[in-house]
C-alpha cells in the first residue's frame, strides 16, 4: 500500500499564534542623597529631611528694591558641574507686589529666574545656570512691595540637571512667602 503518511501529516496543522515572554528583569534600587542640596540661610528658613524641600518667610522691602539671600544651594560633588534653574508652579496673594524676582547665584553672578511684576508672574522660569563642583550657591529674592501688601506665596521647583538639554535631572520644591 502506498503510504499516504506525508499527506496525512500535512493535514495535522498547528492552529493559533505563538507568544514570546521575557523576564522579569529585576534591577535593584538604592536610595542616595542629592548631590546639589538646599540649606537654610536666612534666619527662620528651613529645608526638608533630605535637604531637598526649602521653606522661607521674610518681609518684602517697601521703599527700595532689595535683594535678600534665602537658601543655600550647595553642589557637594567634587568633580561634576550641575545646571540649575527655578520653575514657578504656584503663586497666591501677589496683587500688591510691585516686584518679586527669585533667582540663583552660582558663586559668580545672579540670574533672575521667576519674575513677578505688578501683581502677576511675568516669567515662570529662567535659563539653566552652571553650578561648578564644590560651589556654594544661593537662592535669592529681590523685592519691592506696597506698604499695604499682605502676604504672598510663590512655590517653585529647583531643577538640577546634568546638562541644559535635561538628559537627566531631578527637581526639589521650595516655597517663599513674602510678607
Amino acid at each position: 500500500m502506498r503510504s499516504t503518511l506525508s499527506g496525512i501529516l500535512l493535514a495535522l496543522a498547528l492552529v493559533g499564534s505563538i507568544t514570546l515572554s521575557h523576564g522579569p528583569s529585576t534591577p535593584t534600587m538604592t536610595i542616595s542623597p542629592v548631590e546639589v542640596a538646599l540649606g537654610p540661610l536666612l534666619a527662620g528658613s528651613s529645608v526638608g529631611a533630605n535637604a531637598t524641600n526649602g521653606s522661607v518667610t521674610f518681609a518684602g522691602a517697601t521703599s527700595l528694591l532689595t535683594t535678600t539671600d534665602l537658601l543655600y544651594l550647595n553642589n557637594t560633588n567634587a568633580s561634576r558641574t550641575y545646571y540649575v534653574k527655578l520653575m514657578e508652579y504656584s503663586s497666591t496673594g501677589l496683587a500688591l507686589a510691585t516686584t518679586i524676582n527669585i533667582g540663583v547665584n552660582n558663586g559668580t553672578a545672579n540670574t533672575d529666574q521667576v519674575l513677578v511684576s505688578l501683581g502677576a508672574v511675568t516669567q515662570s522660569s529662567g535659563p539653566y545656570v552652571p553650578l561648578p563642583p564644590g560651589t556654594t550657591g544661593k537662592i535669592y529674592a529681590s523685592t519691592l512691595v506696597s506698604v499695604v501688601y499682605g502676604t504672598g506665596m510663590i512655590g517653585f521647583e529647583v531643577l538640577v540637571a546634568d546638562d541644559a538639554s535635561e538628559t537627566a535631572y531631578y527637581s526639589m520644591r521650595s516655597v517663599v512667602t513674602v510678607t
Binding site: L9, S17, S25, P27, T28, M29, T52, T167, A168
Partner: protein
Amino acid sequence: MTFARGACVAAVVIIAAATGVQAAISWSTTSTIATSVGAPPVQLELGNGANKTHYFSPPLTLSANGTLVSGTLSAKAGADARVKEVLKIANRDVATQNVTLTATQVTNANVEAFSWSLYNGSTLVGILDLKSATPSLAFALPPSTTYRLDLRIDLADGAGNTNSPASFDLSERVG
C-alpha cells in the same frame, strides 16, 4: 518558545487503516525535526541614560539576547528624578510586533511616582505606571523600529534604604 540547540524532536505516528476485511493493518514511522536557536524579534537595548553612573550604580547591563536588564537604580531621597533614554526597545523583525510591557505594582508609600515613558522620537506612545494596580503598556512596534524608555522616580522626604523598595521588575511579552 525556545528550543535547545541541536536537539531533535522525534515524532512517531501510528496509523491504523481498515482494509474492509476483518484484519487491520497498522504501520509506524518516525520523523525527525532539526531545531536551532534564533534571536528574539524584539530586544532591549541600553540607552544613553543607562550610562549615567550617578543614577545607575552598578550600571545597567543587558543579557546577551537583549531580553533581561540588570543593575542598580540610585534613586534620590526627597526628589523627583527623571532620566531620558535609559532603555530602548527594538523590533528586529520585518513585521510589526505587538508588544506588552508589564511590571509588578510598587506600593511603597515613600515612592510617590515611578514610571517608564515610551517614546517614538518625540511622540509619547504611552506610560507604564508602576504605581497603578496592574502596570501594563501594550503597543505595536513597526518593523526595524526602535522606541525609547525614559524613567521617572519621585521619592518622598525621609525615604531611605530601610523604608523603600529594594528592587523593581520589568517584563516584555511579544505576540
